[in-house]
Symmetry: D2
């Protein structure tokens, strides 16, 4: 099978670099083009990306000449790119992504700007792949040849994946307190002077995202619209001095009593119903050690695509359970999430 050409929008930033790293040697996709801001256009990726990942910059990407996003959708565009991965900063993402979709590209976006729009799927394939049916709605409403699908905010992904197998017990409410890695804020997002020997108990708009995106993800597609999951999520979000890996302390209140062992078994049994290169064998890994999961030890589980859970215990409140969830915020929580979405789109014939 010939590999499909993909583009990366915003390829030089923190998430953009992860896209470039993860797409190297992908069995289904190959680099078609890298896009970045105008001041980088025309230069080689090697020259403009201040590479900060431990692995070496992929050779093929390094030699690519950065293309301008302004040309996208221009009449004479004759590239053979099919999928655009978007890691753009919020303020410019909206226009570019829409132009891409209009021009016929499939946009797999990691950006928040379109996530909550009614006709745009917000998807974690193991959770709500059926929401992809919104694509037709979207194309019909907007008259686009292509379309946009999105993956959630990093911290919402870990939470939602861990909640999915618990849905059948009847969730009444969720409270979550996060300890988030600095990479979530982008390369220059958290100055060392701000976080060394410190905790910052605030991340802009993060609590809102967790509280709203989770409910859309766990919602049900009825006709041409999503009905949100019928409970409340309340988040308290905090930045800690960790490079990669968001840790979340979760309380789930159920409608009926649910035992610790039932919850553990639900975590253990959880599997996805599809196989793609980035799909981890176990989307959820249950750790039984009393002090796991930990970012340093567990963030790379399933090549960074598994969410690890542990410390499942009585939540002490009525019908409550508490546990810890953890995942790699720039792999499962960002670039890897978009790539997994693209794989599932391809597998299901949307690309």
């Amino acid at each position: 099978m010939a590999r499909i050409k993909v583009g990366v929008l915003g390829a030089t930033g923190s998430v953009g670099q992860r896209f470039v790293q993860l797409l190297e040697d992908h069995p289904w996709f190959e680099f078609g083009a890298l896009f970045a801001s105008e001041r980088s256009v025309g230069k080689r990726y090697r020259e403009v990306a201040k590479w900060f990942l431990p692995s070496e910059m992929p050779e093929e990407a390094a030699e690519m000449v950065i293309r301008s996003m302004e040309d996208i959708g221009a009449s004479d565009s004759d590239d053979d790119i099919r999928i655009m991965f978007s890691a753009l900063p919020g303020q410019v993402a909206s226009n570019v992504e829409k132009r891409c979709a209009e021009a016929g590209y499939v946009v797999c976006s990691n950006v928040s700007v379109h996530r909550m729009e009614k006709d745009i799927p917000l998807v974690i394939p193991e959770v709500n792949a059926d929401h992809l049916a919104l694509i037709e709605v979207q194309q019909s409403i907007r008259g686009w040849d292509g379309f946009i699908i999105t993956n959630p905010n990093c911290s919402a992904i870990m939470l939602t994946l861990s909640l999915k197998p618990l849905m059948r017990f009847g969730i009444q409410g969720v409270q979550v307190s996060t300890m988030q890695a600095v990479s979530g804020a982008g390369y220059a997002g958290v100055p060392s002077m701000a976080i060394l020997d410190n905790v910052i108990p605030f991340i802009e708009r993060e609590e809102d995202k967790m509280e709203s995106e989770t409910l859309k993800l766990l919602g049900t597609l009825e006709g041409s619209a999503i009905t949100n999951a019928p409970f409340t999520v309340c988040a308290s979000c905090h930045r800690v001095m960790v490079m990669d890996g968001h840790t979340e302390a979760v309380w789930v209140t159920f409608e009926e009593p649910v035992g610790v062992d039932e919850v553990k078994q639900a975590f253990r049994d959880f599997r996805s119903d599809f196989k793609t290169p980035f799909a981890p064998e176990k989307p959820i890994i249950l750790r039984e050690e009393r002090d796991r999961p930990q970012p340093k030890l567990d963030r790379d589980a399933g090549k960074g695509m598994s969410v690890s859970v542990g410390r499942v215990r009585d939540g002490r409140m009525k019908n409550a359970i508490k546990y810890i969830a953890l995942g790699h915020n720039t792999i499962r929580g960002a670039a890897g999430a978009s790539i997994l979405n693209a794989e599932v789109l391809l597998q299901r014939g949307y690309v």
Copy 2:
């Protein structure tokens, strides 16, 4: 007024050093003796304490010769020490503290071993100074000339102080997720290899302590016994790479709706009804900035004796409020707490 002589039990450890540091130049107390394990006995404090606090070791303490705890209560003991501050490791604390109390000393203990015993006061003066009435009960039951009083676990102190002004609204439940400093585990407690670039979502026995001590502290003295506060506390405790200062994300559920502004005002209005050297002018400091309190910026507020709260906001669950509380774990949460207890005992005539 002549200063009262005090001893420090376990003077070389992490909390012991804080006692020594904080007692230097105390207007009411002076060093009577320093006690440590047998291998240090007979040597100068300067020789045996591996001092790790940024300030210099107090000169007076440095020259003191470590005394043995085995002599305490021996017939020929003729020192004029009145108060013993205890920073002993749990396993040896019980015996030594009891022998001290039996021998007529007032023991102000930072150790957990006796905290939950029915006739031993567990006290934060701004919260439940009236529980000191248990002293008489204790002396009567045990036939001691002296007595033991205790202060809570570091993370319970921050939480309980912040809950005290909210008691009048009718608390139904409390959930708390902590991000705790490494100094809480003692000097060698957390290896750098364990915590660098990491979060450890487990602290031995910490959740139990927070869940039980808080309710005793907020309980009511009825006759000769404490009735626990009538709600549930549920804690999830985590270690982060911070030197000093525990940060806590708190959800409080009330019996009736309570507004964010009411809670803020309750925090603002909270004052203690006593003045002593270690009593902070404001036991609770309300921060209005959207990203405060932070350990690095707020742990030293009120010379480390104030608890800072902030980010008071709607808890989204029924009748719930969420906020952040923060305090210095080895000052307000340990040595400073014991010293404040001693000051209040002295002021109220118990010493």
Copy 3:
């Protein structure tokens, strides 16, 4: 004595905040004005400074309205400021400082831009206060009513102070390897993603500064010019994950053999010949412990104005000694250095 009014140029940045912090309640100086970039002009300091120091923002400064640097030297300027402390970014410092000097102000600058100019004194008072005689040269050449004096780069200050007492042994060469704190780069200078679990073996222009400034500081004033000290300094500069405090491993090669004890005695005996509020009683503190000085334990010595040295030992090369030097980079190494310079100017009648 009425206090002298001072201005701070660039008051909102990292070094600017240190100036504001250190000048609070200064016995000789009081705030006359705070200056910052145009977008802050007209607003209160409280509104525009993202305060990041653990102590609270000084009340008096907090309420001051930021003034524009463009007005400085305008004909109608009628403030009574005498001294301007400069913490401007390099690119704008040159013009503003010159305009200040021309307008009659005394400029005590922490900025590098003018340090190596022949007629501008580069001064550490304990090292080369006699170089202040260049002020007359400067005023005569430039026709200024005021003048500019500068203090060295942070890492050069620690090194030079430690070399001063060794000059009499005849220095032939100096090699220094630094481990520098992140605060030296300004608030946003070092992203946490760059330095967490890392060392960055490069600091822009730092090695040049150490190698050139040290020799001017230790040089001799002959007539109206400085002759550099007659040896070579070679620096290797590295950033480590420390908030404040630069640590330097130093090798000094002498013309003749010099013993470890002689060097220690020279450090012990070193005193300044003046007393001012910011002058530490001991400019150099010799630590005898085998693992000192350390940033966390020693940076605040002498209120951050002392340089701590330790581990003096045989340098193994011919006539060589090696030792560790350490100082607070934003106090002794920046704002405190400028303030000390101003104090000495005042004491010697230059203001």
Copy 4:
């Protein structure tokens, strides 16, 4: 080829775990036995090793029952282990290693205790594989069937590898200032309270090791003895808050002028003359970026077996060059070094 059975002495500690991790799936070696202290004997490795590496504990090792070192060499020992890797703490290493050698095992030791003995090879294969000829001398003198070979201290390895290609220019002296990772001290070696926001400018016996081992390694085998390299090494050793990877600032003084480009070319050209599983294709990797090598980005180069060098520049002193060297201290600097030694022994017929 059947794989050779190997034992790991001290398998539960920090370096022991690295041995277990690196030996998993080794093409030439397989686990024969794991040894640890008496309190672990008889239990499964899974139960006694507090695994702290990010990868999962190798399954095969996890199920192995810890054996006692006291049985080694007992008459009834009939295992088929050929090579013993030693990661024992210094105080017990000497006896056990000697008993192993006497009993006919080949001991590849990472321990310092025997490194400087005249008849025991201290080897980095790319540097001085010819020193293996000492094995015969050792067996003849000591009457052993087996023998002991050692690899150097972690910080000496990075330095020596980088010096090897420079030997032909005629080295006159070496000064090195290290910034060493906490993993070098073992799991509990550096408390977080000691190193957070700090530098510790002292590592026990480290400077001695660097100064002596380097000269033996670069020495020449003449007859049955090593003559040390004829120059002086002077080290200043410091601990910084980095997990893995020692960074070293090096000055080399040559007998004649040597240009920066010549040194770079010597680094670029350096290759080993053997191929084994752990031998990196490039023992030395020259980085040309101005801010490399960095621990986080370069420690894993060559699967942790390459030393990265960079910032080669004029050393300013007569005939001097300065540069930065960096390597993974627990792979190239410890367990990987021993394994590479074993591979070369096997390839050359010593096993």
